[in-house]
Symmetry: C2
Subunit: 357 residues, 2 copies
């Protein structure tokens, strides 16, 4: 097991990463303040891991909410199912919510914890690679609104994150690849050494090799934790984490949430960002090809959807919450392993990327 | 004009109190960071004060949401109307929400500000006495859930509060009295001198005398600000502010939100707390009568609803979020001007008060 400490002063917390951690009460119980626990999970994950998690919670009042599975359910109705269960089972202010599942479950459970009785404790037990490397670190919680993704939410830090690599064996291949997209992202934005490691170990990751996964999760979380510690409330460098995301969110929104996996859209988005970086003279053609090739090796889509026009991109990208002031800010690559945030680029280069990728 | 500074470190803010402050751009503009403003108000207040407020906001993109009036609309649907308008008008992270109205508008607008894009700025312009003395100080925001009042929310501090006493002239008498209930509360829990002042000035308050109102609002806010500065997240002494509220919430919930005004229920609740304090030997009979008499002079109900049994009280009081651990905590009076929080009292004394009051 590896342990990473996310350093946020009073709200610091550890991330435990390794095999067979689920149901280990020693990792869980010290982080539960009261007597009540509400596990929030979904219909796919519950049959696989709910009982195992509960074995680590003997002696507590343990209740559960099992939500439908999918990004399309990351909304106010699902959130209300959590509040209703908390109230029906009379959970008080000292309750602890536990998110067991992927990013959608984590975001909703975290937001329920941020807002129930104006804030209670929560613990993340992410069961997808995407949520292990990304959404369980950083304290972002929230739900989608019909008019925009993640438009409603709060910053709320978990007490502890338990990333059990064993849970990844039951993950569909597409979702494993979607998680690898975010792993690649950390290499691309700030860690060229890690990027090389990923290129050498992509096969092991796809095979769910536990050692490779633990390393990938640890390094991804470390990179993210360093950024978050610097910029908890996302006023500065944290935006680097959005490499591929502004393009990607447009794809997800245009296709309808849930059709493309988030990580798949990020995969294509990173190729688009690399393409534009090449057009701006920052990346060589070889480096651009290197990005495309890594995305393809990770079994991620490297091209945007056929039914999506450049105008569609512009429309959805300007709806993105980071662009509500009508200027589209992009994260681009100065070189491999170094990203920049910019809204200062020639419009024709941008449009050219939209039509080429 | 009086100015009170609420001292919360980085989140400190001023409260301006006096006549004719609405529409004074000098009190408003320095507290708006971006170019966009969303005014949240309701159908009753909008025709009276919306245009006046907007005169102080020239040069900004000013949008508005006009909600239906009433506690029964303090729910997820109204909240969604705010989010929808913010998104339709493309409000970005630098937007400022302005709550123009009573406590319901303030709580909802504040919660929308706490959660829109994970938190944006907001300003309180309370137009009822209740909200001027109470809900605009302390950072509590939220909505009701069908299973419980204020069960969903956040702590979110305003940038500034503007309490214009002129707006109280259009307030229905019942609502003025409801506000005075909270004013009396501050005297009862920690300020015997202020309590005497209220007893001497109750007629002036009921007549909407501006000088008396300014003093009452200032002293109430000062008392509340002192408590909140000590205990921002309500882990300790802040619970003293709930004098009369645990009884009162039960009345409100049993009667159906909106039938009894919040302050009316608090008025009766304070009489019940005083009754129980007398039974425990803490208040003399004269002091108990003094409380009843002040509540009555303020034209507040001093008796609980006829259709409400002691069992109804117990049921609704144990649903209150402060009692979800099955023990009913009460705020009682050690003497006039000194309250205590306790869940250690003989059950029969409690039941006796429920059946007597």
């Amino acid at each position: 097991m590896e342990t990473l400490k996310v350093d946020l002063g009073e709200r610091s917390y550890p991330i435990f990463i390794g095999e067979g951690l689920l149901g280990n009460s020693e990792l869980l119980v010290p982080y539960i303040a009261g007597q009540q626990v509400m596990i929030v999970t979904n219909e796919t994950v519950a049959p696989l891991y709910l009982e195992q998690l509960k074995t680590g919670l003997e002696g507590f009042q343990v209740d559960e909410v099992i939500l439908p599975d999918g990004e399309e359910f990351k909304n106010a109705s699902s959130l209300d199912l959590i509040y209703t269960e908390l109230l029906k089972k009379r959970h008080n202010r000292k309750t602890t919510l536990i998110a067991l599942g992927g990013g959608v479950v984590g975001d909703m459970c975290g937001y329920a914890a941020a807002s129930y009785q104006r804030g209670v404790d929560f613990i993340q037990v992410p069961t997808t690679l995407l949520s292990q490397v990304d959404s369980s670190v950083g304290g972002k919680t929230g739900i989608n609104h019909p008019l925009g993704k993640n438009m409603v939410g709060a910053f709320h830090q978990p007490n502890v994150v338990i990333a059990d690599t064993s849970t990844l064996r039951t993950l569909p291949e597409r979702e494993l690849s979607a998680g690898i997209a975010e792993v690649i992202k950390y290499g691309l934005i700030r860690d060229p050494e890690f990027l090389s490691w990923i290129e050498s170990n992509i096969e092991n990751l796809l095979k769910c090799d536990s050692e490779a996964l633990t390393k990938a999760i640890f390094e991804s979380c470390r990179n993210k934790a360093e950024i978050v510690a610097e910029d908890e409330l996302e006023s500065g460098c944290r935006a680097l984490l959005n490499l591929g995301h502004t393009f990607g969110h447009a794809i997800e929104a245009h296709q309808g949430y849930g059709k493309w996996l988030h990580g798949e859209a990020v995969g294509t988005g990173m190729v688009m960002a690399a393409h534009m970086s090449r057009e701006l003279g920052w990346l060589s053609s070889d480096e651009y090809t290197q990005v495309c090739s890594l995305v393809e090796k990770a079994k991620l889509p490297a091209r945007s959807p056929d039914n999506m026009t450049p105008d569609d991109f512009v429309e959805y990208m300007s709806l993105d919450k980071k662009n509500l002031d009508h200027r589209i800010r992009l994260v681009l690559l100065k070189k491999l392993g170094e990203a920049v945030i910019t809204s200062d680029y020639p419009q024709d280069v941008f449009m050219n990327t939209l039509s080429s990728c």
